[in-house]
Symmetry: C2
């Protein structure tokens, strides 16, 4: 362990860095798809011992947090590529939904209780970057008169995420196809926003 914070106690070895990265990668794969997976399973996938996992991530909760952060970064990158600034707010919204929908599909973890259970405060700080882009385009749309201004942006963000969860759940339940559900989601969100159908 290092001395008092700020005092570097030598260096950080490269194999430690690789281990930590391997663990995170494994965690993203394993926990991303099977949120109930045990630490042991993550360790095995990373080709490492359980204790080594704990050496880099003090608790399972923190490991899950790191996974969510990783996925969030992926989401932010995808959103930046999709460019939320260009076109009408409605068009941008549909792109936002498309990007996040794909992620929900790839990572069931995002739908899972354990993430939502992190509590609103923690949860919000975590996907702040993603949410922020949505909120920004909501404000843009409301200012432009594309979206109705009665409901607050903050609430619309929550509502959008909730509808996304519902849609993910429907697909997971196998009641309808992914495409049907995605269409229903787009439709519903636009209605809540008070936007004209494009």
């Amino acid at each position: 362990m290092s001395e008092i914070a700020g005092r570097r106690s030598r260096r950080r070895r490269s194999d430690a860095e690789r281990s930590a990265a391997a663990v995170l990668d494994a965690a993203v794969q394993v926990l991303g798809r099977q949120p109930d997976a045990k630490v042991e399973q993550v360790a095995a996938t990373a080709g490492v011992t359980r204790q080594t996992v704990y050496a880099h991530y003090p608790s399972r909760t923190l490991l899950v947090a790191a996974v969510v952060d990783h996925i969030t970064a992926e989401a932010v990158a995808a959103l930046d590529v999709a460019d939320m600034e260009s076109g009408t707010a409605t068009e941008a919204l549909l792109r936002w939904l498309d990007v996040t929908w794909r992620l929900f599909d790839r990572y069931p973890l995002l739908l899972h209780p354990s993430v939502a259970a992190a509590g609103p405060a923690e949860s919000d700080r975590r996907h702040a970057a993603v949410v922020e882009r949505l909120e920004k385009l909501i404000r843009r749309g409301q200012a432009a008169g594309e979206f109705d201004g009665t409901l607050s942006p903050a609430w619309l963000v929550s509502a959008t995420i909730a509808l996304g969860h519902a849609a993910g759940g429907e697909v997971a339940a196998g009641r309808v196809t992914t495409e049907q559900t995605a269409a229903a989601l787009r439709h519903s969100v636009l209605r809540v926003y008070g936007a004209r159908e494009p």
Copy 2:
């Protein structure tokens, strides 16, 4: 244990019935408010030993299920008093929201992961009675032209519940008042349904 099913092996004693009821009551109070409470705590509240709880409810999961069933019955009773058949579908919808909103407030368990985690299949079978009444009035509203018929009743049910969860979360996070949130919820649901504002 009874012989082969159907062969009653004497009778069921009244104190067993009372114990089971006491446990259920305690579970509704304790788990309804603190979904993470341990079996031990439920037992203590019921004035009974942990083993006795297991004697009546084979697992914690089944106990939670029984609690949800109990609350569901309460909900159904309240909905029947509110009479979903009379008035316009929009009016009935608002009554439905009012009733269920109150329950979400009384029983945080309904918002909790562990219930949603039961899986869509199990979850749906459970509040089938509540959902059924909503779906019925959605069909009524769509047939009457009060609600738009583009989106399927099944999806609208999911969307409504999801929005309810989001609203509950907002209140729990203390970001806004209960009344503001309830208003936003009503507003949003009506929009998703494609209903005119009353």
